[in-house]
């Protein structure tokens, strides 16, 4: 009988045997054996197997008369993930792995279990919301639908949620968790039986394999302990290394050199017992291993490290070795965050006959049964806020908190309690943390609407801007902190790098991409080079990053909120200048910030007293006192995570009206003085802020109060940042065009005055720069600074009236 060749290292499934002969060698009554013992057509099923205590009950009536395509016709595939189950079961009883659960196997009455599993197929889970169940009718038996899917798609893998098993039969669940090695094959059998009964005509490549996941024993890696050995566990972590593919021999093929008689030997715990004598011709030591007729299965070593979120402070992350088998090989890449369901194993260090002392330490690893990427949705989904599980009580406390009328103020004061006052700024940052609602207008060509709020803080050095940034960075799960001084455009966006191991070019993402769906805190925004800053233009409005370098052209999502802090250019804020003049940032960038706050010293006595009190108490209060005063950071974090995940407010009718009014009002203010005081961008900001505010209240509807608060906050921010220092009015054009309307008017005036001076001089084609400045100063009643004079000259040269070369001014006309 020939078995197809399986070359070492080949990507093909390890085991393919020709099933045709099987039908004749096996009497129908022994059919369930296919699920347990290996299909070894050349070796007749031995007696021990059939009499083994683990042989399953045979509800043979169910399959009587099943034609070729039934269970018997489909080859079983080995389950290396379940390890020694592939061997005859009673072997397990005698030489138990060292974990001392020797008594288990006998306890598990497989036959009973087998029958128990059938009703599971009728399991209905109307509350299911998992993505992989999409398209299935939730009111029909879930797993029957999945089987139907298998019959259509032909992928013989059935994922079973352990929670379903538990709610269905707690005892079965316990057995599944404790003895996965024995129970899962039973599941396999039951499912196959069921499947072929229902879809007798479908042809699968292999028998269906059941892959349980979501075992309740979901733990982080740190909690694994010796009790978990040989149990089914689910842990989460991040892939840090994957090995090359390891071809693992499952069955060795020996051929006698004398008579060409061939025999197969199964691998038993990584060892092959080489037959010493040829059974056919009785020659000793004549058998040779034929590699390319042996059977191999794929195996891969994967290292996972516990995710930074579930680590205690001050310790280093643990790593665990994981083995993936067959088609689970190459399913994950380094950097993926995954949930792994598998069997935890401990293998003693090999006892060596030459060595008298054995290291008394085990090596541990996990045989994977099921992978689930936790960040998979992030790649294609829209809203991905990490599936953070909240306990019932936590949700309850959060909701209670949300119901309080002053929740907004409470949260705002809980934010960075060590920073004094600046209530409005904290409120602004709070709204930024919640963010607006994501809207998709790609149908109408507008693309995604930005839902993230960007905030710029500027002000005197030493007003704890950096501290606020640090706090926010520590608060949000996906935050990045960079300093304008230390970051380059490349560090913010992405760069192409040669992977030292694979020699492949890989795209390494920078801070902005890493903080996708989080907050990117940029300190010393003003110190950033112009080229670096320019990459922010795209990110802050379109929320994407386009990359074209080293042959990689792509667009990455960077749906990040930017929280930036800038110092005034003269180190002290000059109240006589506008925001733009003080921080020297391009207005194109400034207009992309929803809120721009000034952090200045208010300089009044009452404030000073409160500030002093606050600071002093910072130095003498004990930890406990402080904790009573404020909501703790964990609560705040959960609150935000919950709101971001579950609350998606929509504008109500009144709110829309209020927004329209607010916008019209803003436009009106300016039009009275011939200036524009609001642009559509401001309207969008208002909407975002209002949405964020209703999220704070856990409200699905944006109402008028939300709009009121958004308006107030927006006005506060504007009052601070867009006030024209010359007139005292709010002038949005300071931020949108970089110059206030009065400043523009004034420049015009100076230019005209200069023109008059020049004209008064009569026909002089060229004149000295200094004399001209002197003349203008004498003529004008207001003081003319050198900058003003330069600006006027520039304005006139723009009109092609004159040209400036060095220190001389020439008339052109």
């Amino acid at each position: 009988m020939s078995s197809p060749l399986s070359t070492p290292g080949g990507r093909k499934r390890g085991r393919t045997t020709n099933p045709s002969t099987r039908e004749f060698t096996c009497p129908p009554s022994t059919w369930p054996q296919v699920g347990v013992s290996r299909l070894v057509p050349t070796v007749p099923p031995n007696e021990v197997d059939m009499s083994s205590p683990l042989m399953y009950g045979t509800p043979s009536s169910r399959v009587e008369g099943t034609p070729r395509s039934g269970v018997r016709g489909t080859p079983a595939r080995q389950r290396p993930d379940l390890g020694s189950v592939s061997k005859a079961p009673q072997v397990d009883l005698q030489s138990e792995p060292p974990s001392a659960d020797g008594a288990v196997a006998s306890e598990a009455n497989a036959g009973q279990r087998h029958r128990k599993i059938f009703p599971l197929s009728l399991f209905i889970d109307p509350s299911s919301s998992e993505d992989e169940n999409t398209g299935l009718d939730l009111n029909e038996p879930l797993y029957m639908q999945k089987l139907e899917e298998i019959s259509v798609v032909g992928d013989p893998v059935l994922n079973v949620n352990c929670l379903h098993v538990q709610s269905f039969d707690a005892e079965l669940y316990r057995q599944l968790i404790c003895y996965p090695q024995e129970v899962i094959p039973t599941f396999d059998m039951a499912v196959n039986e069921l499947f072929f009964e229902r879809f007798p005509d479908s042809i699968l490549e292999y028998q269906i394999q059941v892959r349980p996941y979501n075992a309740l024993k979901t733990r982080n890696m740190r909690n694994l302990n010796p009790e978990d050995i040989d149990q089914l566990i689910t842990i989460s972590g991040m892939v840090i290394r994957t090995s090359q593919l390891i071809p693992e021999m499952q069955e060795a093929f020996f051929q006698c050199q004398v008579c060409a008689f061939s025999t197969r030997v199964e691998v038993d715990r990584g060892r092959i017992a080489e037959p010493a004598v040829c059974r056919h011709c009785n020659t000793t030591h004549s058998l040779a291993l034929v590699h390319n007729r042996s059977l191999f299965s794929d195996k891969q070593m994967i290292k996972i490290q516990e995710s930074p979120d579930d680590m205690p402070a001050g310790q280093t992350p643990h790593t665990t070795v994981v083995y993936a088998h067959n088609d689970l090989v190459d399913k994950v890449q380094p950097g993926d965050r995954i949930n792994i369901t598998g069997v935890y194993r401990a293998v003693p260090m090999r006892a060596n006959p030459r060595q008298s002392n054995v290291k008394s330490v085990y090596k541990t690893h996990i045989d994977v049964i099921h992978f689930r990427k936790t960040d998979e949705k992030r790649l294609h989904g829209l809203d991905d806020a990490e599936q953070k599980l909240f306990t019932e009580e936590r949700v309850q406390t959060l909701k209670e908190l949300a119901a309080k009328p002053d929740v907004y103020e409470r949260l705002a004061s809980a934010l960075a309690p060590s920073i004094y006052e600046h209530e409005d700024i904290k409120k602004g940052i709070l709204l930024q943390l919640f963010g607006g609602t994501r809207k998709d207008f790609s149908q109408t060509g507008r693309g995604n609407f930005r839902a993230d709020v960007n905030i710029l803080l500027c002000g005197d050095p030493g007003t704890s801007k950096s501290q606020l940034l640090q706090y926010v960075f520590n608060l949000v799960p996906r935050g990045q902190y960079t300093s304008g001084k230390g970051s380059s455009a490349v560090g913010l966006t992405a760069y192409v790098m040669k992977d030292p191991e694979t020699r492949q070019l890989v795209l390494q993402t920078g801070a902005l991409v890493l903080s996708d769906n989080g907050i990117c805190c940029i300190d010393e925004f003003d110190k950033m080079s112009d080229s670096t800053r320019s990459v922010l233009h795209e990110v802050m409005e379109q929320q994407t990053l386009s990359i074209a370098k080293a042959g990689i052209i792509c667009q990455l999502n960077a749906r990040t909120s930017v929280l930036a802090a800038a110092n005034p250019i003269e180190s002290q804020w000059n109240p006589k200048k506008t925001t733009i003049e003080n921080i020297q940032l391009p207005h194109t960038l400034l207009s992309r910030f929803d809120l721009i706050f000034l952090m200045l010293d208010p300089q009044d006595e009452a404030y000073d007293r409160r500030l002093a009190h606050h600071l002093v108490s910072l130095y003498y209060q004990s930890e406990e006192q402080l904790e009573e005063e404020f909501l703790d950071m964990a609560m705040l974090r959960d609150y935000i995570a919950y709101a971001r995940t579950y609350i998606n407010p929509k504008l109500s009718e009144e709110a829309s009206q209020a927004l329209i009014e607010a916008y019209v009002d803003m436009r009106k203010i300016g039009s009275g003085r011939g200036m524009v005081s609001a642009y559509p961008r401001q309207l969008e900001s208002l909407i975002r802020l209002a949405e964020a505010h209703s999220k704070v209240r856990f409200s699905e509807k944006v109402e008028t109060i939300d709009v009121e608060e958004a308006k107030r906050l927006h006005r506060e921010a504007l009052k601070q940042s867009a006030t024209d220092p010359r007139t005292g009015f709010v002038d949005i054009s300071i931020l949108t065009t970089g110059m206030s309307a009065t400043a523009r008017k004034r420049r015009e005036e100076v230019a005209q005055a200069l023109k008059k001076v020049i004209q008064a001089k009569g026909k002089t084609p060229a004149m000295k720069y200094h004399t001209l400045l002197e003349d203008l100063r004498r003529q004008s009643e207001t003081a003319i600074t050198k900058e003003m004079f330069d600006e006027a000259l520039r304005a006139l040269s723009d009109e092609d009236y004159l040209t400036v070369t060095g220190k001389t001014v020439r008339l052109l006309a």
Binding site: S99, P308, T316, H318, A346, A351, S360, G462, H613
Partner: protein
């Protein structure tokens, strides 16, 4: 004692044993009987004996499962022996014994420990002489010693040759009788050069370059969650240097090609996680105590409990010692008393708590205006090194900044944390010499290093590089920056050095500052600094009120003159000033004095600004 209890498992012998040792060690001076891995060369120590090690947790490896108890069957006699695997690395069984499956698996954790980085030479000296003091004069019995070695040779057959040769020199306390005659017979400390040389080819992963000393793999059996990375601990444990360990490792590495299961660990990882026991011994922990400080002059237990007598006597002396120290520093700092004052404040500073992200109590000092001649900064560092228990000098040369690894980085190939110079224990003095910096370009590493230093100073944290993410580790390091002009790094406080010495005499003067004070005086200084740093501190309500009033008044006169940041600093200065005088609460006087000192410093800075402004 072990032998008696070992073969009756589950009798709670382990707990009893630990309690026994804890009790014994509580006794006065009991800990001095135990030989220390810090001072005694490894080959002088007897395997399986009790040793102590003053160390720093550099890395934490993955937990390991071991055979807690197991049954060994002798095939010839069929006799079963129940044995215990706790505190052991290898199983004890003969060549052909088989293990019964009735093993109990237990868990233990492995920490990689190195001596405290940057520990000053005087600390090593004093702590080892503290050992020698209680050692009774030589009275060991060579014959008995000989026998015990032969016993050992039964199960370790290969590498004992060098030990045999040295045998006449060695003498160790027996584990079985730590209280009997309790003698730790330690001999001369001629450090074997061979050991140091052989250590060099294996990277022992010390945080600071050029460090020497033993490192060990610490096996922790309980309460491992209580340990933190970068913690300094004193461990009492059983030393294991069985050559079988390294033999196993070698063999594993060579046969890993054949065995697919061996492939899970790379050769690199093997090397790191099971280095030869002769270089990196295993220490099975019985008892450990965190070290609040590593100053051997202070009682080890810390100041809180039952040391009130010591505390009150020191407190009484503090003002006097402070005056002496101030005079000494004034002399060192070219006659600048104000700078000397600030230097004292800096040296007693300590991050005592954190408010969300804000560390409180740190006091990074930027000493600008250091003369560029005659390697002033290096001499200055040497003086500081003489006074603090651990310190590190980092010359901020371009080369250093561009090439040094300051931030620890996870090496996933070898699965360990590659240490960096900023992986330092609590209260280490980091001396940054910025006068070494010359013009040139910082590359990516350089920028990252400077950022890391900046983060360290501002937030007292270091972001360790885990390649896929960064992890923040809080730290508590006193950073002192010596520079010519204002430092490029942030600092809590900058003071410009005003030399009272005429430039021509500078060279000669600097030669003179090197002269150390008397040893007794030095010890007084050392004690003073360590004690002041650990004192508790509080502010009474009345003082709070007056501080607030002061602040409001100052702001009223000139709002520009004082900001919130200034108040922060003044509160820290007041705190440190009180502590440096041995006062545990803020008094009105100290507050005024702090204000005065700050004012002097600020006026000097103004002056200096003008000077700088005039120069092009």
């Amino acid at each position: 004692m072990f032998a008696a209890s070992q073969n009756t498992p589950n009798s709670g012998w382990a707990a009893k044993a630990v309690a026994f040792f804890k009790d014994r060690l509580k006794e006065k001076d009991a800990h001095t009987w135990v030989p220390s891995l810090n001072d005694v060369p490894l080959h002088y120590l007897k395997p399986n004996s009790l040793v102590k090690f003053r160390c720093f947790i550099q890395d934490m490896f993955d937990p390991e499962f071991y055979m807690g108890t197991y049954e060994a069957v002798d095939p010839s006699t069929k006799a079963k022996v129940l044995r215990c695997g706790k505190y052991k690395d290898v199983t004890e069984c003969g060549v052909s014994t088989t293990l019964e499956p009735s093993t109990m698996t237990a868990e233990r954790h492995t920490f990689y420990c190195v001596p405290i980085p940057g520990e000053s030479p005087w600390v090593k000296e004093i702590s080892s002489s503290g050992q020698a003091r209680v050692v009774p004069s030589t009275s060991y019995a060579p014959t008995r010693q000989k026998r015990s070695y032969e016993e050992d040779d039964d199960d370790m057959d290969t590498d004992t040759q060098p030990q045999k040769q040295r045998e006449p020199h060695t003498g160790m306390s027996e584990l079985s009788e730590p209280h009997g005659n309790g003698d730790c017979k330690r001999r001369e400390k001629e450090a074997p050069s061979s050991q140091a040389a052989s250590a060099s080819h294996l990277d022992l992963n010390f945080p600071l370059p050029g460090e020497k000393g033993p490192s060990c793999l610490l096996k922790v059996y309980e309460e491992w969650d209580g340990f933190k990375l970068n913690e300094a601990v004193e461990v009492f444990g059983i030393l294991s240097v069985s050559p079988a360990l390294s033999a196993l490792a070698d063999e594993d590495a060579s046969s890993s090609l054949l065995d697919p299961a061996g492939g899970m660990e790379t050769a690199e990882e093997q090397r790191v996680h099971s280095p030869p026991a002769s270089l990196v011994p295993r220490l099975h922990m019985l008892h450990a105590k965190p070290l609040p400080h590593n100053n051997p002059l202070l009682p080890a237990a810390g100041l809180e409990d039952n040391n009130s007598a010591f505390l009150s006597s020191t407190l009484r002396e503090m003002a006097a010692v402070r005056a002496e120290l101030l005079a000494y520093f004034t002399h060192v700092l070219l006659g600048d008393a104000l700078a000397a004052e600030y230097l004292i404040l800096h040296l007693v500073s300590n991050v005592y708590t954190r408010r969300d992200v804000l560390p409180l109590g740190k006091f990074t000092l930027n000493l600008s205006g250091c003369p560029a001649v005659a390697s002033f900064t290096e001499r200055f560092y040497q003086i500081i090194q003489q006074l603090v228990p651990s310190s590190y000098y980092l010359g901020m040369t371009l080369q250093n900044m561009n090439q040094m690894r300051l931030v620890p980085k996870k090496d996933y190939v070898a699965n360990r944390l590659l240490s960096g110079a900023l992986q330092l224990a609590t209260n280490t003095s980091l001396f940054l010499d910025e006068s070494q910096l010359e013009q040139g370009q910082l590359d990516t590493t350089g920028v990252r290093n400077v950022t890391a230093l900046g983060n360290l100073i501002s937030w007292q944290k270091v972001d360790y590089d885990f390649s896929y993410h960064q992890m923040e580790f809080p730290c508590n390091i006193n950073v002192l920056i010596a520079s010519e002009g204002r430092s490029l790094l942030p600092s809590d406080c900058q003071i410009h050095l005003q030399s009272q010495v005429a430039p021509p005499d500078l060279e000669a003067y600097l030669g003179g500052i090197q002269v150390h004070p008397q040893a007794s005086q030095l010890n007084k200084f050392r004690m003073y600094l360590s004690v002041a740093r650990q004192l508790d501190y509080s502010i009474a309500d009345e003082v709070t009120k007056s501080v607030e009033d002061d602040f409001v008044d100052m702001r009223k006169d000139d709002p520009q003159s004082i900001s919130a940041e200034d108040l922060h600093r003044m509160l820290v200065v007041a705190r440190l000033l009180s502590l440096s005088l041995g006062q545990t609460s803020l008094s009105r006087d100290s507050w005024l004095r702090a204000k005065h000192v700050e004012m002097l410093r600020r006026s000097r800075m103004e002056q200096n600004k003008c000077v700088n402004g005039n120069e092009p």
